[in-house]
Symmetry: C2
Subunit: 140 residues, 2 copies
Amino acid sequence: MSDPIEEGLLLAPKFDADGLVTCVATDAKSGELLMVAHMNAEALRRTVESGEAWYFSRSRKALWKKGESSGHTQRVIEMRVDCDQDTVWIKVEQNGPGACHTGRRSCFYRVVPLNQTGAIALQFRDAEKTFDPNAVYDKK
Amino acid sequence: MSDPIEEGLLLAPKFDADGLVTCVATDAKSGELLMVAHMNAEALRRTVESGEAWYFSRSRKALWKKGESSGHTQRVIEMRVDCDQDTVWIKVEQNGPGACHTGRRSCFYRVVPLNQTGAIALQFRDAEKTFDPNAVYDKK
């Protein structure tokens, strides 16, 4: 018997103890990795129903539509789920100049050098700021 | 003052309550998303030191060198860390025919159709098996 989670056609997300799955967002055109975040059942449902990316913020403990503050929404071109259904992958059309709250296109703007031991010094890569986060996000 | 975690050059991984960070592995040549797994501090250290991917299995609660059973190791071409340092991204050279334990190149072989409500029927995509997992993995 094949495993229905792995080989079946029913979406049955394996939420973790906090009720979350991991979500990887890549740029639908370039394939670039933009960000990794989390979805609870409600965020996943809203994303599937609307075709716009919704997440669940672990730090703010709140449902969150990507771009609700910044205007930098993500239109989902394709969604996939992985073998054990604890991760979803969305290929998105990123509206606006970037996905990262630091003001960059992608959250992955630092390289970890390999073949090293001890404390690691990161190196900036593709780290240019494409927008000013202070101008885009509400100050509370 | 800029946030040292986000704008600094010291690798300071933000491990979760279980001592893990998320790791996204993509094919260094094609950019294809291969798998998403987790690393504890030891897996991360071994990956950085050796340039070969090590993970921590949440289900088996064990450190795990990718390919130790299957031979399908991953040579890390580049590693990056995200803004808040709770996710690493490795671009890898995947040895052998695939990264997924189900016998496929990638773990993401099913599409979640969008703009739907209710129960979701997945669709296979890029789902051809590239190896026979029964032949590759030890039977216990």
